[in-house]
Symmetry: C2
Subunit: 764 residues, 2 copies
């Protein structure tokens, strides 16, 4: 139910394929455990995040938001607010120039920045810029708005009822259901020796990144600079230019540090446009950051899903049929994705049918959220697989191993460049002690231990366009210029490592300029696990070009054929006679030219093949049958994301993914009040993300590297999303293993467990 446009940039760059670079064999830097190059700045506080920016004369802005789930603005009176101390500007739909279509680039039906039809709690009504933030917030309270409250719908079922309140022209269906079929489902089901069928739901989750969303906007004449807490400066760039109807050359978006996004900062926010408009009318810089509460309602979510799954298999475990029907709501505004994707592609199966349907409801809009659609799918599919294994009397790992495809059935049966799915199952099981765990004698007492497994794939693995520039200075140190944001994942570090690998320059001698549309080269936003596989090869290509130039200069000087030379540390050495060498600094051609520039682009993905990361997660839980409390006591993540670039940040990414999976499984849920349609837990106290006490100490990452030499020049396939897709399902399966009840609705709260225990007792 979310938008995947940012993944669809993965098209071949026609003009400049990446140079021929052989796969790395042994590596000196890549793959090692390397602390972040910007760690000092981040922990010392010297890193300037957009939220930290202070400009001379800067104003502070705040947004007045709709307090109703569904309403229309009848009248706004800003006269009292205008007279409040410090107030410099108030924007409403009536302000000149404020009638800006939204979302200008992609959304149909289109709305506007201050749409008078307010479709969910939090929709923008007005904005104030004042000398201080408190003055701006005070002024909001003085704006008198007359609303016409409208009836609202919160669920798919309500939204599709006859006579239901309609959110957009054309009705509440975002689009007709997206149906996918291959083979003959009926036939498959009839051939099956065992069929399982069940409906699952997942709750709506909120991204809650550490840094709230917001921008600082500053005009110089007709040129606008925006500092934004964003995953993709170029995405913001394009939208700002289009919304304000100015050339992209007149907009500069600077990202630099940013405090997390998880998908909620992939695109430009209305707040950015509002900050720019306020800065324009006041002729002063304007800072507009959302409050924590606003980020809960208005910066996106992982939308709730309802998924009906039917699986059929032969006695030996061979799958004969998969049906996966998903209905969901991306909230009040368009958002689309296929939750079903993984269900149709993870396992070998000839007869498959899936459907994805999305309807509007009066709630905050979905946005891409770490592996959009996939954890939901895993929650349903992998629980169903578990149930199927039980039905067949098979080990769940064995059942999965039985059905491993070598091709992407959903994508024309094209072969994978590599698939480590089987190895993830085997090596993960070994690292977890799966067989021992399954064979255990169950402990007595009210606290039951259980073990679960779930597999996954991630459907995207980067691609062009991405351009990186590497400059070698005459003293042998390096500048790395890249468009990518470092969204907390260590992008600066691994990109430096790739350059270091090619050029032998230590990390501390690499200067980085990044995430600035005015100074760096285009790349798609950092999301979808694409940064490593998209930008990494471009960085390698750029460093490679620099090396080629350097060796050519050295060859001239050493009077040796260039083929004979290699770069080793800070020296150029003859491969035939290692006494023949020349320090990089001493290359006169470098001194003459001062700087060697290498431009690297991401070449196309291999033709006719599919690049896909896989992962299998194993969970151990303890369930207290007296209280219904579930503790996750142990997790093992076996990941095939190709070659790890930095084993430290790789592991950290996985740990983060596991924690997020615990959140989906156990604690996180947006609660909408049925009476008012408003979110009742829009704060960090009532919306529960896992804390340290919810996370097991015993987490292990098994990096399964299938030695993929085809996926791209780094051998890496991306780790961000595959780190979180299977976790919740593995936990749910462990719970079922522990206490024999299957939790179909996330999250697995003590209340829900208690209900299930009661039901079990009734049946019992």
């Amino acid at each position: 139910m979310v938008e995947l446009y940012w993944l669809q940039g993965a098209v071949p760059e026609t003009t400049k394929p990446s140079p021929e670079m052989p796969p790395w064999k042994e590596t000196a830097v890549v793959g090692k455990r390397v602390p972040r190059v910007d760690g000092y700045d981040r922990v010392s506080g010297s890193a300037v995040y957009p939220r930290d920016i202070l400009l001379p004369d800067m104003l502070h802005a705040a947004i007045l938001r709709c307090p109703h789930a569904h309403a229309k603005v009848k009248k706004i009176d800003v006269s009292a607010a205008e007279k409040m101390p410090g107030v410099r500007a108030i924007l409403t739909a009536q302000s000149p120039g404020a009638d800006i279509p939204w979302f200008p680039r992609r959304d149909k039906p289109s709305t506007s920045i201050f749409d008078q039809h307010l479709r969910c709690e939090g929709d923008e009504v007005a904005a104030v810029a004042a000398d201080t933030l408190l003055q701006a917030q005070d002024a909001l309270k003085a704006i008198k708005v007359q609303y016409e409250e409208l009836p609202f719908v919160l669920s798919v079922e309500e939204a599709l009822k006859e006579g239901a309140p309609v959110l957009h022209e054309g009705g509440n269906r975002v689009a007709p259901p997206a149906v996918y079929e291959r083979g003959d489902l009926k036939k498959g089901l009839s051939e099956a020796d065992a069929v399982v069928e069940r409906t699952y739901t997942t709750a709506c989750e909120i991204h809650v990144p550490m840094e709230v969303h917001g921008s600082v906007a500053k005009w110089d004449g007709n040129r606008l600079t925006v500092w934004d807490s964003t995953q993709g400066v170029f995405a913001v760039h394009e939208t700002v230019a289009e919304a304000l109807k100015i050339p992209m050359a007149n907009v500069r978006v600077i990202g630099h540090y940013m405090g997390g996004g998880f998908g909620s900062k992939l695109e430009c926010g209305k707040y950015t446009i509002i900050a720019a408009l306020l800065a324009k009318v006041t002729a002063r810089p304007v800072k507009l950051f959302l409050t924590r509460e606003e980020t809960f309602t208005m910066t996106g979510n992982r939308p709730p899903n309802k998924m009906s799954v039917r699986l059929g298999a032969k006695k030996d475990g061979t799958l004969t049929a998969i049906e996966f029907l998903s209905t969901g709501t991306g909230g009040a505004y368009p958002a689309s994705a296929t939750t079903s994707f993984m269900a149709t592609d993870l396992y070998l199966c000839p007869n498959v049918k899936s459907s994805d349907e999305n309807v509007f409801t009066n709630a905050g809009r979905a946005r891409p959220f770490r592996a959009p659609g996939f954890p939901q799918c895993a929650w349903a599919l992998e629980q169903a697989m578990d149930e199927l294994a039980a039905r067949l009397g098979m080990d769940p790992v064995e059942l999965r191993l039985k059905n491993i495809p070598k091709t992407s059935q959903r994508r024309g049966n094209q072969p994978y460049t590599s698939t480590g799915l089987a190895d993830c199952l085997r090596e993960g099981a070994k690292a977890f002690g799966w067989n021992e765990a399954r064979a255990r004698k169950k402990p007595d007492g009210p606290v039951k231990k259980g073990f679960g497994v779930a597999a996954s794939l991630w459907g995207y693995a980067g691609g062009p366009p991405s351009t990186v520039i590497v400059k070698l200075f005459s003293d042998g140190s390096v500048n790395l210029n890249m468009g990518a944001a470092d969204i907390g994942t260590g992008t600066k570090t691994f990109m430096s490592m790739i350059v270091s690998e090619e050029l032998g320059v230590p990390l501390e001698k690499i200067q980085i300029e990044h995430a600035d549309t005015g100074t760096t080269q285009y790349t798609a936003p950092s999301g979808g696990s694409k940064t490593v596989p998209s930008d990494g090869p471009a960085a390698r290509a750029a460093a490679w070009e620099v090396k080629k130039k350097l060796l050519a200069l050295a060859a001239e000087e050493m009077k040796l054929p260039v083929e004979e030379l290699m770069l080793s540390g800070a020296e150029i050495v003859s491969t035939k006679d290692s006494t023949k060498k020349l320090a990089v600094k001493a290359v006169k051609g470098l001194e003459r030219q001062q700087v060697l520039v290498g431009v690297g682009t991401r070449g196309p993905n291999p033709e006719g093949k599919i690049v896909t990361p896989f992962a299998v997660h194993f969970a151990e839980v303890e369930v207290d049958e007296r209280t219904g409390e579930v503790r996750v006591t142990r997790l093992v993540a076996a990941q095939d994301s190709g070659r790890p670039m930095n084993r430290l940040t790789y592991d950290c990414q996985v740990f983060g993914g596991l924690v997020m999976g615990i959140g989906l499984a156990r604690t996180e849920e947006r609660v909408l009040d049925r009476q008012t349609g408003k979110m009742v837990n829009a704060n960090w106290h009532d919306y529960k993300i896992p804390t340290a006490l919810d996370v097991p100490v015993d987490q292990k990452v098994v990096a399964v590297d299938p030695g993929d030499t085809e996926c791209n020049a780094t051998g890496a396939k991306g780790i961000g999303e595959p780190a979180t897709i299977a976790t919740a399902a593995a936990i749910a399966n462990a719970v079922a293993d522990a206490v024999g009840v299957r939790v179909v609705d996330s999250p697995i709260t003590p209340i829900r467990m208690s209900q299930l225990f009661r039901e079990r007792q009734k049946k019992g």
Copy 2:
């Protein structure tokens, strides 16, 4: 007597020649009169110059300078200063880490930042960083220094006397005289029908740019950012890294706006290093800008020259001999150049001898100053030519036309790619009304009118390395990334025009990032008239590459051969069928790739040929025989700098050059007190640069474009220096024409004129 190292970067880039670009025929933008793209920012005050930078927690610094012409530091006591309010750090030679060799890259003999041997007034003794600038300046006064005063020398003659005070080990000669000879001077003189011989001197001039010199330095951990008012961020970059012994990757130098330099900001100043050291010990940003007075003594000058010239010619004007012997002093520290260059290359002559000698004196160091050495040379050579013409009874224009070479005799007789010298003489004479003026009946009365001419060439015309990057955004607007500073000459504007010419994008849709070692590509410092001919072709090559990529994408889409397509405005059009067209914005490949990147480098200069700009200046003066006052009433500058890029900034450059020439001719002179060795007019009141009242309203620029298709891809040869070389000589010749006295010593002050009138009277 000045350093030309920054011109010596002109070496071929071996790895990437510029693409094949045909010379422009008709141009739509290039060559037009275009106001500056940053004019609004500059005049509105929104442009942030380094002097304007304010950072949170920033300290202000000031330098304690030697009050003597020659001394040694015996003892420094900072104990009282340390206790002054607001003082955060004091640096002396004794401070840890302050013992930094200077000038680290190029100077021999080497000294150090706080050298204890102080060789001229203003040498650095100590520095203070305090909360406010006034506190820092107050603290300077509290530092007690015990100096050992030493005897000093101010002139070449004194410096070379036996037993003279010695400034550096190895004596006061910077190097043995640089002698150049071709043919046989004696023979040439003996063949001559007329010989003129005379000795000329020029006074020492100060650069006096609008913005004083200075830097802001800020450390983040071990990474240093410097904002500097500089002509070349990359030159500063290299020196800072070397002085502080840190990798270049750990230093970022940002230039952006800067308020003039004229050569005095080509290299890194000690103040930059001092600011960095103070920032390091205080862990706070430090701003260190010199006072106006400091810039007079310590940021360089056009050094004084003494030039003895002998010219021999046949009756028909054919030159047979040129002798040009120059002695001068670059002050207390090394600096070298050949003042004689132009004398040996401007006119066809088989028998030539020149010599350049440079000695140390206890005065501020020379630095490159707009056309280093050349205006001095013209002052002597072109006055001698004038005298020779008179001796031969020839028109001075005719004499010059008689001796025009097609080759550079000084440089192996290689042919010029173009020479407009004859056209400059002819077209300039026509525009000036030279023949009419010469034929005039002299006016009676005490105010005499006179007319003078002087020719010139500039010995350098740019070259590699220079790299420029152009990005085309998906909406057809453009980003231009270049290392060059805009030193007030309109670099941003003409570079944008070149891009606009190639891509058909209007100037207001071009975003510029420049002069930042962290974000832009290498180029040599902006000086030596090299920016247009070095960086212009790189910009064209970058835009050309973007165009090629764009046309290739369009060809694919339009299903037409790429050769058939051209870019016209914002459309791609078929040259065979103009109804077949596609808007740039509509090119789907561009939408797919989001940004097209073109990297352009400056290819090598044409092999076996010499690129040289020429200029001829014509002056009209009025000399009041009662007061000795000289007024310049009219100037015409005929310039062959190849194709003008922007006719408006081209003209403005020439006007600036003419004004500077008036300064050399009439008003400017550093005055050193013979008793103390100290400069007595180190301020804008006593050091006279021309004001509006000194500049004629009637100034005209004749752009002689020889249609040079070989010099580089733009056809431009550089205008900065050729705009000022001949002016002073033309004025002196006009004075001689007006009143029959030849002023051999610059400047032509009323006092000097009065003396000459007295001498003329005596001779009667």
